[in-house]
Each structure stands twice: as C-alpha cells, then as structure tokens.
C-alpha cells in the first residue's frame, strides 16, 4: 500500500493521438489526473469522448503519445511492452465491458489465471481463486463455464479475476454496459464492498448509477476533462420529496 496522501496514480498532460495530419484524432487531449489511495473515481462522458482510451492508458494497455503517467511512484509512459506487462500483472486489475473471460475455462480457472501468469504455484493460485469467488458470492459456481453463468455472474467472476494478484488499483471499463438492471445492482454492491475494503477504483461509465457510488465524478468530453464533482456530502432534498411525498 501507499503512504497516505501520495496519489496511487498521477497523470500530467496526457495525450493519445491516432492518425496523421488531416486524419489526426485526439482521443485523449491533455488530461491531468490524480487518484488517491482508496478512492473510487468515476469518469463519465458520451460515446467517443475518449474515456475508454484514457483507461487503457492508465492501465498500461496502451502507450500515450505524450505526457507523464506515474503509477505507484514509477513513471510508466516510457516503458516497453514487456515492462508494462509485468506492471499490469502485479499492480493493475482490469474489468472489461465484454467481460472477456476465456470460454473454455471454468470460473475458478479464469480467476486463477493472473496468479499463474505471475508464477504462483497452482495450488496457491487455486486457493486464492476460490477465496475470491467466495468474496464475490459465487463460491458455488466455481466449476461453471462462463456459458452457464448469467451476465452479472460473469462480470463478478471478471472482478474476482481482476483482484487475483492483489492489485493496487482496479480499472473498470463500462462494467455494467452489458448488464440488465438486476445484474447491475449485484455489481454495484460488489464495487461498494470493494470501496469499503479500501480498494482504489477507477470506473469509466455512462451509467449514472455507477457514477453515484463514487467519491468523485469527472465529466469528459472530446478527450478532455470538463467538470469534476465531489459526491461525498449530503444532498439538499429528502428522499420523501423525491418519492412524491409532500412536506
């Protein structure tokens, strides 16, 4: 874990461009960001605003065109693919919108995979996977294939997988994009419990419900941040008026 106060993740003037000259696309255009330890940060914006690209940059899945990126005290914007991979293995957990589980592996085998990649012994990796599945409430489905699980269950398995190597930060890209509202609730609860446990979390979403679970919400448009909202602190209305009760 980090010393309190120092951000886990920091970005300065982060840029990611594609194409050239007339066809130049600035997916991420000068982003400054700090994510404190234990914080849940939500990034909202319309489709094509660059939030997924930003997340890929933050997690080392993609390299920025320019700018500084510091993760756990180490500059990562100039690292090669190999070093980035090593970093992702130990420091970052990813949750994708399309789940991206391996179809032919059971839930437990999916969850233990990052640990196996990190060189953990098969027995320990399996034990960790079982623990994580219990943590997300799917202990009884450890032997199920993804095709036998519902969307919400698959995403929970994906979250368990993201936690396999005890990452410093979990990055989630539209985690409820493919889920119905009941499954969304399950995932919401899971994220909430992660937050309570002190996990640092950055979520990209256009679902306001997910954003509402965060400590801080950032609006993004055309590759840049346009607004920031602190969501801690009370609201002005009571629930009663929201429900239509007068007085």
């Amino acid at each position: 874990m980090n010393e309190t106060g120092a951000p886990i993740l920091g970005a300065r003037a982060l840029r990611r461009e594609y194409g050239r000259e007339a066809g130049l696309v600035r997916a991420v255009d000068g982003v400054d960001l700090d994510v404190a330890a234990g914080e849940t940060l939500a990034v909202m914006g319309p489709s094509g605003c660059g939030k997924s690209t930003l997340l890929h940059l933050l997690g080392g899945l993609d390299r920025p065109t320019s700018g500084e990126l510091v993760l756990a005290g180490q500059r990562i914007d100039h690292l090669g693919e190999r070093a980035l991979a090593r970093l992702r293995l130990g420091t970052v957990g990813f949750v994708f919108q399309a789940f991206h589980l391996m179809d032919e592996l059971t839930a437990a085998e999916n969850v233990e995979l990052p640990a196996l990649l990190a060189g953990v012994s098969p027995r320990r990796a399996r034990r960790r996977a079982t623990d994580l599945l219990e943590h997300v409430g799917l202990a009884d489905r450890a032997r199920f294939l993804p095709s036998a699980l519902s969307g919400g269950q698959r995403q929970r398995v994906a979250v368990a997988r993201a936690l396999a190597n005890e990452p410093l930060i979990v990055l989630a890209d539209e985690p409820t994009g493919n889920l119905d509202s009941e499954a969304t609730l399950d995932v919401l609860r899971l994220f909430d419990s992660l937050h309570t446990a002190g996990q640092t979390l950055v979520v990209v979403t256009h679902d306001a419900r997910i954003a509402a679970t965060a400590d801080r919400m950032i609006s993004m448009r055309d590759g840049a941040f346009v607004d920031e909202t602190r969501l801690t602190g009370g609201s002005t209305g009571s629930l009663g008026t929201l429900a239509g009760l007068e007085g």
Binding site: P46, A208, T229, L239, G240, L242, A243
Partner: protein, 175 residues
Amino acid sequence: MQQEVVLALLAKEPSHGYQLRARLREALGPVGDAMNAGQIYVTLTRLEKAGLVASEPSAGLADRPDRKVYALTPAGQQRVADWLTEVSWPRPDLAEFHLKLVAAAAAGLADPIAIVDTQRRELLRRLRDAQRAAMAEPDRSAAGLLLEGIVLRLQADLRWLEACERTWTPRRDQS
C-alpha cells in the same frame, strides 16, 4: 392523493392513528423518515370532515385524536374502490426546468450549461443517497422497490440532463 392512501390503509380494518402511521412507515422505509408525525392526523381530520371516515373514541380516554379509532364510511369505501382503478400517473414537471434554460439563454442571465451542470450535480448526489438506501434494504422488500423506482427516475432525469447539455452547447456558441 395522500388522502386516498390513508383511506386505503383503513380498508382492511378500523385502526388507530398510530397503527396507520406504523403501516406507512413500514411501507415507505427510509423514504418516510422525514414525514411529519402529526401529518397523518391532519389528513384523518380532513377525511372525517369530508365524510369519508368516521371516528370513534376508543374505550377509556376521550377526545385525544391519537386514541380514536377510525373506520371507513360507505362513501369512503367507494372512494377507495374508484381510486384503485384510476390510471393517472404523477405529473412530470420538466417544462419548468426547460423554460428556465430558455429564459436564461434568451435574456443572457446565466449560462444554460452551468445551470444544467449544477442541476446534474445535485441529482447525482440524490441518486447516491437513494442508491445507498436501496442497497441497505433487504432483497425484495417493499421499501427497496420504492427506492429502486426513485433511482430509476433519477437516472432518467440525468439522461435528459445529459441531452440538454449536448443540445445547449452549440446554442451557447450561437447566442
């Protein structure tokens, strides 16, 4: 409308005022927390005046409203029956906000985008509160269902506000 609710709560059997209050509390959960304790007695009195409800003092103490027993009159029962089959839905009130933006932009009083952002922030906070409360409820509780309704409507309102933001941005450039 709240009058009809109280009438309906009396339909099962005559009850004391405090019993009605308890039933309401149970059905509303945390949403009903801010409700005025005396509100229900005011409503009961109005209903009595309208002839939909009749009260009887309970055995013992007299003239204390919280000790009276209330019951539906035949007119009251009819009113409940009619109410149950009504299909009117709570009126949306988007026009006020929409006109707020139009007026602000036209008169140059304020930036519509700033108004939208401020409103969004507020709605987000409310969404957070409602969601928190919803997650604290056990599965399938009546109160939980109500909270989910609140959450979904807030979500819908927020979507509309996003649309407002998108639409008003070029307009701002024009004005």
